[in-house]
């Protein structure tokens, strides 16, 4: 939680965009901050409902134990896979150096 969010109970677009790995321009931050504050205020409408004892719905239909047998199926051809890659070398996907 960002400090700003904690204090205002509202959305801190700059902080959340970073969680979502989105670089925003100052202009975007300003626009989104206005629009999203309005939207967040609107969706707070559900606060008015008492949902004590109500189970959450995470799937639109009840279904259980949908299993697949442990069987090997053909994988994709590597050339096809790497053709989609923005960058690849020696069969690997290449990314900017990972620093830990």
């Amino acid at each position: 939680m960002s400090e700003k969010q904690a204090q205002t109970g509202g959305i801190d677009v700059r902080y959340v965009a970073n969680l979502a790995r989105l670089a925003l321009t100052e202009e975007e931050i300003a626009t989104f901050q206005g629009q999203l504050s309005q939207i967040v205020e609107y969706v707070q409408a559900i606060d008015r409902l008492d949902v004590t004892g109500i189970e959450p719905t995470s799937h639109a239909l009840p279904r259980y134990n949908v299993f697949r047998a442990d069987e090997v199926r053909p994988s994709l051809d590597r050339d096809t896979v790497l053709r989609n890659a923005p960058s690849s070398r020696d069969g690997q996907f290449i990314v900017p150096k990972i620093v830990e």
């Binding site: 965009a17 559900i46 949902v51």
Partner: protein
């Protein structure tokens, strides 16, 4: 009489091809010509693959000649650009999928293919299916074929425009909060959102996984039934898709509604609703009564919370579903990044449009530490209440009749600066996705200026036969009066 091949229904085209009046290749050529003439203006298609369609049409013609015609043999269908088709790009109308070529067929595509369908091209949409006007496409603008200054609706706006504009016999759309039904209503065609779990989502680029469904967009309810028979059914690749047997929808259609009870929800009248919409729906309800249906009033008391619930759950799921677009394995990668984190941020900044960014941020926020319970968890509980509303209504009704949208198609640019106003337009359609039930939009009138109005018919989960029956009987009684 000279047939206009590009405005035929699927069922008529199948009958004509069966009796040898023309071939699939003729259909493809006619549609290709229509697209060449009209799509520059309409912008329904993102890409047209005439060469591929010709090859498929010829194969279909050979199959038919050999007595091996599938159920959709030789029927040209337009595909929303959110579905994976092997060997084709799948842009989702986003820059972020630049260069991506799908290495596999979505299950829905494979099913159509197996029945001999021909894939004409890919239709425009709101980026990642987020929007109600197709104005959020990063690729092009699509116009409403009934009124060129108006939006076609969205997010399946390209599919609706193609079908209503005579550029495809049928199309596939996807519906997360109304994205099949609303553009169908705006453009004046039929759109079916199947029950959640009726059609496999495997290969559908996910927006909100617990809400998304693929469905047909057609000129008639019978055509929707024909396509739905092919699309429905369990799939080992989609755990949420059920084994419930698929009835012969088309064969079960009737021209009267005797014995059916149809509910009219009191809550589906909202502020700012166009009087022409209310009136057209009222007339449609009367006509259903004339056809023998018993009409009752029902209550769906939690409807007023549906938009809030939908935008919390939908964006939460979307924020995770769209996390995979990062520039590592496919699609766009921004240059100049110093480390992976920097690359993600730049790639996603460059690749996603404003509406997608807004929803990702909202979805990330409602799931984030400190807010998860107040927004996401609470919305899931309200979702339970909305489901129960429908369970109660369907205890005494076979289907419900409602307006599809509060207003007909609005002007291009009218709502682009006000996302909340755009969201509020989904009020009549999002409840079906939250409850997992099925819904059908059928043209039921026109507003001043010739703008189509859609009647929404909602049915219990896995009871597509109910709404198709109501829609067909109504459509036959209605006649062709408003269809161009």
């Amino acid at each position: 009489m000279k047939l206009n091949l590009s405005t035929l229904t699927v069922s008529d085209a199948l009958a004509h091809m069966a009796s040898g009046d023309f071939k699939s290749i003729d259909l493809v050529e006619a549609l290709g010509a229509a697209i060449a003439v009209r799509d520059g203006e309409l912008g329904a298609y993102v890409s047209v693959d005439l060469a591929g369609a010709r090859a498929e049409a010829e194969a279909a013609d050979r199959a038919r000649a050999a007595g091996k015609a599938g159920r959709l043999c030789g029927i040209p269908i337009a595909i929303k650009d959110v579905l994976n088709v092997r060997g084709q790009p799948c842009t989702c109308a986003s820059k972020i999928l630049d260069g991506y070529v799908a290495p596999y067929d979505a299950t829905a595509i494979a099913r159509l293919r197996a029945e001999g369908a021909v894939f004409l091209g890919r239709t425009n949409m709101d980026e990642f299916a987020m929007g109600g006007s197709t104005e959020n496409s990063a690729i092009k603008r699509t116009r409403n074929p009934r009124a060129l200054d108006r939006v076609p609706g969205g997010s399946s706006g390209g599919s609706a425009a193609a079908v209503a504009g005579g550029l495809a016999l049928a199309a596939l759309g996807t519906d997360t909060g109304g994205s099949i039904r609303q553009p169908a209503a705006f453009c004046g065609c039929v759109g079916l959102k199947p029950s959640y779990g009726r059609v496999s989502r495997y290969g559908l680029t996910a927006f909100a996984s617990s809400l998304d469904q693929i469905g047909p967009m057609t000129r008639t309810v019978r055509d929707a039934a024909l396509l739905q028979e092919v699309l429905s059914g369990a799939d080992p690749m989609d755990a949420t898709c059920v084994e419930t047997p698929v009835p012969p929808y088309a064969a079960q259609l009737t021209e009267d509604l005797r014995g059916m009870t149809l509910g009219v929800p009191a809550e589906y009248v909202v502020e700012g609703m166009d009087p022409a919409v209310a009136q057209a729906v009222q007339h449609a309800v009367e006509r259903c009564r004339d056809l023998g249906a018993r009409i009752v009033e029902v209550k769906l008391p939690h409807t007023m919370f549906a938009i809030a619930t939908y935008y919390i759950i939908g964006t939460a799921e979307a924020s995770a579903n769209l996390a995979r677009f990062d520039g590592v394995r496919y699609g766009l990668r921004a240059t100049g990044a110093t480390d992976p984190l920097d690359m993600y941020k730049r790639t996603r900044a460059a690749g996603f449009g404003p509406e997608v960014k807004r929803r990702i941020i909202l979805g990330t926020y409602v799931l984030s530490s400190g807010y998860h319970d107040a927004y996401y968890l609470k919305a899931q509980k309200v979702r339970t209440l909305i489901r129960r509303d429908f369970e109660q209504a369907f205890a005494s009704c076979d289907a419900l009749l409602t307006p599809c949208t509060p207003t007909p198609a609005f002007r291009m640019g009218e709502k682009t600066q006000d996302p909340l106003q755009m969201y509020l337009g989904d009020i009549f359609t999002v409840t079906a996705n939250l409850a997992g039930i099925c819904g059908l939009s059928v043209p039921c009138g026109v507003a001043p200026g010739g703008l189509p109005i859609g009647l929404q018919i909602l049915g219990p989960a896995m009871k597509e036969e109910n709404i198709l029956r109501v829609g067909h009987a109504y459509e036959v009684a209605r006649g062709d009066q408003w269809l161009g």
